[in-house]
């Protein structure tokens, strides 16, 4: 199967994709974009969260064929022209990154939250990130990071 998908603004064409591969597998193993992670590949952990046509989804459950002709944004596409996105900076500065395996998925989910709700309450943050598991941090510094990113994005 040939997959043609726009990822992080660049069109990728990949041949010989087996139909049973997921979008996650295609990104990681065929397009050289291993930033999205494979902690469970069952839609339970959110580590594979990417934007698909503007909405955060678990890439592990998107069959390769369903990515044809779509637009995908991964963690590798959040920074613009070498500048980290405020949410990426905030995660580093707030100490929200320990092993970091959950981080890419959380960044996409947090990025999406802040696009929709620029000044979220703590409960809104928790609800929006409830599909992303983290085992290292207990989530406290992740909350700090999202608040920090929200505050920075609020300043013009």
């Amino acid at each position: 199967m040939r997959i043609t998908t726009t990822v992080n603004g660049t069109e990728h064409e990949v041949d010989d994709v087996w139909a049973g591969e997921s979008l996650l597998y295609v990104l990681r193993e065929r397009m050289g974009l291993p930033g999205s992670k494979n902690a469970c590949e069952q839609g339970e952990c959110g580590s594979c969260t990417v934007y698909l046509d503007g909405e955060p989804v678990c890439a592990c459950l998107v069959a390769a064929g369903q990515a044809i002709g779509r637009e995908v944004t991964t963690v590798e596409g959040l920074a613009t022209e070498g500048e980290l996105h405020p949410v990426q900076e905030a995660f580093v500065e707030a100490g929200a990154v320990q092993c970091g395996f959950c981080t890419p998925g959380l960044l996409v989910a947090a990025h999406d939250l802040l696009e929709r709700v620029p000044d979220p309450s703590d409960l809104e943050i928790r609800e929006a990130l409830a599909g992303n598991l983290c085992r290292c941090t207990g989530y406290e510094k992740i909350l700090d990071a999202v608040r920090l990113a929200a505050a920075r994005q609020a300043r013009p």
Binding site: G35, F101, E127, G131, R135
Partner: protein, 778 residues
């Protein structure tokens, strides 16, 4: 102590840990600061290479065929069909293991690939290499293994019965630790007792087991792998591959969490065997389901405890029996029994003690190291019993613990002197004095109530409960183990700037060790730019990233190597300046005099030279305990923590919302204060998870929930806000006074949550994880 100096090899350190830093540098990012971790940017851009991200041109994929039976004899393995699958390049079984077909952390009792018997569901039987992971899986499914299913030992309470099937040897005993201290016939006016059961927890690190084995021209192999101890992996690999260490080179790949689950081998020998056979790089990466079978779990435990006390609550005696289900192979069960036995009565003064701790073999999944290592299970028992004692003598839970809490100068139940701060009473007071969260108001957001987005409660039937727990944990390896680490530090000028490079084999698993290594170099060398060399077996062992020991032991090695480098540099500077070495310091890339005056620059002293030193660091020795009495100086350091949990419980539906989980912990010296708090947050979450929701369900030797659908770990909606208070009572025997941080929060958190739920619903709740039906009693 022996010592060799010079650049060519490691040198046993002298007491570098107690020598005060002769450099009080002003370098930013030194110890006590919270500099950002050096891999943070790579992790947020998705460029950090975890073991599961590794890629090599030409690589093929390896897959493991595992036993579906908890206990069976292998009558035959037929790989002919599997070999015919297009794209398959190798199918291997036990016959293909060139060295010893055995590995294990404490005993080499586990086969690399099963030979005659399989002893647990998931035991590796065969390997396949193919050009696509799906091809490899399909080929593995076509390997025909003829099993004769055998009776399995699945109830550890009967594993030592005379008629129990033998897993390895009759009696199925891994270790019995017997501890007797004081008067065994003493009585007391107040006696309380209980039985507690702790379910099997999983480390659930997010990064799946993964590695890339690259066959080398010298006939050896380079393995890039996520692990906790490169050198112990190397030792076992050498045995199995029949090769010397020079030909088995390990490189630490990015690790996605560990928590004890990567201490045992997983893909290491398997990927290497396939690589050596096919001549191609072999990538192995487990799915989450396979991961649940691919690593050891926390020992489930059955604990029977009794305390005798005076009427004022002062403990007179304690008796405890602890049973740990070690599963099919020994792993680190003996050491876990050691901890549960020697530390399992909690941080209390108890003059008369009898403890029997057992680790047994069964055909259940193998159990081994997980953060807290035997103390977690025991804490659920001793803390629940302290609450019973409090009730029996009419004291509150904090006072009864403070009354019995250890202090510096006490001896613990093995007779070991607690020779530095033991702030049990103070830690409890701190958490007790923290402001309580406000009571829910009538308009509380539903998401803040038990059941959360399940919309289950609107406040009716919700009762608040508060619970406390306190613990102590040994730091470092014990019972006489030769526990050390090695560091190589190099200082040179590069592009006009002084650069220190630190090279250890100590595994960074997310905890922030690499940042600590940098901070120590900045402190000791007065140089801001510190490069952390990739971690591999080209330097001496860093010891295990476990037992909360790396900041202490690898920190000590890095400090010692830095001091050695500094000594060389200052000696050169002294000679060229005509000054005494003792008058000189390093700071800000300069050689500085006693009053802070700049005398010359590092650039001038070093020139084109690099100064490189390698040092080993050992903590004070520990000792084996007496086999009859359990007495001895088994441990080298202790760390103390206390938690207070506040929960809201819907007592009709049995739902729990943890409203607050606050803690105080003595960390000796916070090298990186932010990272210390992060570790405490994470450990608290894992303890809470065990108290409320985490359990690997095993029946008849079969794992019933090997997925995140049914093995539930706390999400951000489950976790409460956590206040953390850090004490810094230095351990004078440790570098900078540090105490290990990672494990204590995992130990005192769960029992505090359990106590709070008990307080809310009024039920004894003797099993964790606590389920809704336990709370409602239905």
């Amino acid at each position: 102590m022996r010592g060799r100096s010079g650049h060519s090899g490691p040198s046993v350190s002298t007491d570098a840990g107690t020598r005060p830093a002769t450099t009080a540098t002003t370098t930013p990012g030194r110890i006590g600061d919270s500099p950002l971790r050096p891999d943070g940017t790579l992790k947020v851009t998705g460029e950090f290479a975890y073991a599961s991200d590794l890629w090599h041109d030409d690589m093929v994929w390896g897959v493991t065929l595992r036993s579906p039976h908890p206990h069976a004899r292998i009558r035959g393995i037929d790989i002919t069909e599997a070999l015919t699958v297009p794209g398959v390049t190798a199918v291997l079984t036990a016959d293909d293991v060139p060295g010893e077909n055995a590995f294990g952390l404490e005993h080499a009792d586990q086969p690399v690939l099963a030979v005659e018997f399989v002893r647990y569901e998931g035991e590796p039987v065969a390997l396949v290499a193919a050009d696509h992971p799906e091809t490899a899986r399909r080929a593995a499914a076509r390997i025909r293994v003829e099993y004769e299913v055998l009776p399995a030992v699945t109830d550890p309470r009967h594993a030592m019965d005379d008629d129990a099937p033998a897993v390895h040897r009759p009696g199925n005993l891994v270790r019995h630790l017997q501890l007797r201290r004081g008067d065994q016939s003493v009585t007391a006016p107040v006696v309380v007792s209980l039985d507690v059961e702790v379910g099997m927890q999983d480390q659930a690190f997010l990064g799946p087991e993964s590695g890339l084995a690259v066959p080398a021209e010298d006939g050896g192999v380079d393995l890039y792998v996520a692990t906790q101890w490169l050198h112990v992996d190397q030792r076992q690999m050498c045995l199995a591959l029949g090769m010397p260490p020079e030909k088995v080179r390990l490189h630490l790949a990015g690790v996605g969490g560990a928590f004890g689950g990567r201490e045992d081998l997983s893909v290491h020998v398997h990927a290497s065997l396939l690589a050596l056979r096919t001549g191609k790089p072999v990538k192995m990466s487990y799915s989450r389901e396979e991961s649940f079978f691919g690593h050891v779990h926390r020992h489930p435990a059955w604990l029977t405890y009794e305390f005798g006390a005076e009427r004022d609550g002062t403990l007179v005696y304690a008796r405890a029996r602890v049973l740990l289900d070690g599963g099919a192979y020994a792993s680190s069960t003996a050491a876990v029994v050691g901890n549960a036995g020697t530390l399992g009565l909690g941080p209390y003064r108890i003059p008369n003690v009898a403890v029997d701790a057992y680790g047994v073999f069964t055909n259940n999944p193998p159990c081994g190291a997980m953060r807290g290592f035997g103390c977690v299970q025991a804490a659920f028992a001793h803390e629940a019993l302290m609450d019973e004692l409090a009730d029996a003598v009419g004291l509150d839970p904090v006072t009864v613990r403070q009354r019995n809490g250890m202090r510096e100068g006490d001896r613990n139940i093995t007779g070991q002197l607690i020779d530095s701060a033991a702030p049990v009473a103070e830690l409890l007071q701190i958490v007790a004095d923290l402001p309580l969260p406000p009571q829910r108001d009538a308009d509380a957001d539903l998401r803040a109530l038990p059941g959360s987005v399940g919309n289950t409660t609107h406040g009716e039937g919700v009762v608040r409960g508060v619970g406390y727990a306190v613990t102590y944990k040994n730091i470092g390896f014990s019972e006489g183990f030769d526990d050390y680490s090695t560091a190589r530090v190099r200082l040179e000028m590069t592009g006009g700037e002084a650069v220190a490079t630190v090279h250890t084999a100590a595994a960074e698993v997310g905890q922030g060790l690499i940042t600590v290594e940098q901070q120590i170099c900045r402190t000791e060398l007065g140089v801001e730019r510190v490069v952390v060399h990739p971690k591999n077996t080209a330097v001496g062992s860093g010891g295990s990233t476990s037992a909360s020991r790396q900041t202490y032991v690898t920190g000590g090695a890095v400090q010692a190597a830095c001091v050695a480098v500094r000594d060389v540099v200052l000696a050169r500077a002294a000679a060229s300046l005509g000054r005494e070495v003792s008058q000189l310091r390093l700071d800000g890339e300069k050689i500085v005099g006693a009053s802070g005056e700049v005398l010359t620059g590092l650039a001038e002293v070093l020139g084109e030279d690099a100064v490189e030193e390698t040092r080993e660091y050992r903590h004070r020795p520990t000792h084996a305990i007496d086999p009859e009495t359990g007495q001895g100086d088994a441990h080298v350091q202790f760390a103390f923590s206390a938690h207070r949990a506040v929960v809201d419980v819907d007592v009709e539906l049995g739902l729990v919302k943890v409203v607050a989980l606050d803690t105080a912990q003595d960390v000796g010296k916070a090298i990186n204060p932010d990272a210390v708090v992060g570790q405490i947050h994470g450990g608290s979450a894992q303890g809470m998870g065990l108290a409320l929701m985490e359990e690997i369900v095993v029946t008849d030797g079969h794992v019933r929930n090997p997925s995140f659908t049914d093995y539930l770990i706390p999400t951000i909606l489950d976790m409460p806000p956590m206040q953390v208070k850090v004490l810094e009572y230095a351990d004078p025997h440790a570098p900078y006074g540090v105490r290990g941080v990672g494990e204590p929060p995992t130990i005192s958190s769960g029992p505090a949550v359990a106590a709070a739920v008990r307080a809310a619903c009024g039920r004894p709740l003797r099993r964790v994880p606590i389920r809704p039906e336990h709370i409602t009693g239905t």
